[in-house]
Symmetry: C2
Subunit: 194 residues, 2 copies
């Protein structure tokens, strides 16, 4: 498949535009025409870089996951204790939320999964796998170091935590008074404090 890493500058602007459109309108809600308007070129020029919409969607998801992994690596390098790492993780979602209440790309694509080509849903699965693996490790460390209450397995805690954050983005779009992912994460982490 096409790699996001060898995108030309034009291709990158297209991916930027598509990313924002998927986050707000969904994959089925945006068109090449929308992208063209944002980038300032014409529809067929988009096709020159991404022959099919499916390819464009897959690259958007791929790049998104890659950037998320970079952010996770950065958290590992700069934050040591488990609860603080989880708060830093929640802040990644909060940052998305603050950008005019955008959705997580893979939350949106996950919701739409049944109407998407396999090439895209595969990227979505990978995003969730990567995140849950990372969170599971952090929860396990937290329980081992005694900074998090145990009771359920690290994997179960990780899944619940991620669901809360993904859900907070969804609810945040549908309900204007919502408080966003950071707040809900705080509620959970307070309950899990030993």
């Amino acid at each position: 498949m096409k790699q996001f890493s060898d995108l030309t500058p034009s291709a990158e602007r297209i991916v930027d535009a598509a990313e924002g459109l998927i986050q707000t309108l969904g994959y089925n809600g945006f068109s090449y025409e929308d992208v063209a308007k944002i980038v300032g070129i014409r529809k067929p020029s988009i096709h020159h870089h991404f022959p099919s919409k499916m390819e464009l969607g897959a690259v958007v998801a791929q790049r998104y996951t890659h950037r998320f992994r970079e952010a996770l690596l950065h958290v590992e390098g700069t934050v040591s204790k488990a609860p603080a790492r989880l708060r830093a993780y929640a802040d990644l979602f909060e940052a998305t939320y603050e950008k005019s209440r955008r959705l997580c790309i893979c939350g949106m694509l996950g919701a739409e999964a049944d109407s998407l080509p396999q090439e895209i849903t595969a990227q979505v699965k990978r995003f969730f796998s990567v995140n849950l693996e990372w969170l599971t490790t952090v929860f396990a460390e937290g329980m081992a170091e005694g900074s998090l209450k145990s009771g359920h397995s690290a994997a179960e805690l990780a899944e619940a935590f991620m669901c809360t954050l993904e859900g907070a983005l969804v609810v945040g779009r549908g309900w204007p008074q919502a408080h966003g992912p950071r707040r809900s994460a705080e509620v959970l982490l307070a309950a899990l404090a030993p």
Copy 2:
């Protein structure tokens, strides 16, 4: 606006079909042709009952919220303690999840909100308001009766709880190994046990 309560039998079958389609494909992902195939009639016959797609979507959301309220009323009537009520609430989401991993109608429409007409997003807002109000009351009762740990406000707990359940449905679609809303709710409620 059209009331779901005075739907003719044909109109009801159309709403049934549209509900399932929105839950799996999203509002932007289904067409009148899809509905026609399921119901076994032709496209223009759908228009006879619902002149525009927007009306159909709004009625689907309206009926969904109404049924949810009935379910909440039933829980109030049959379950007394707060933690048990919250588990019964989570089971409403679990039931949706078990139906081939369908999404909450308003979770899906909430995600797609920016590409939807106001008539539909208004219904989505109402769904979340109704649910959060009910959950807030239950959490408040739980804290009052001592069956739930306090620390955050009932409203904050309610929001976090609902986000977890909505998120569990989204993650469940994108990640096949997911365990569903009941499991994540259990993790949260265990952490909130006094």
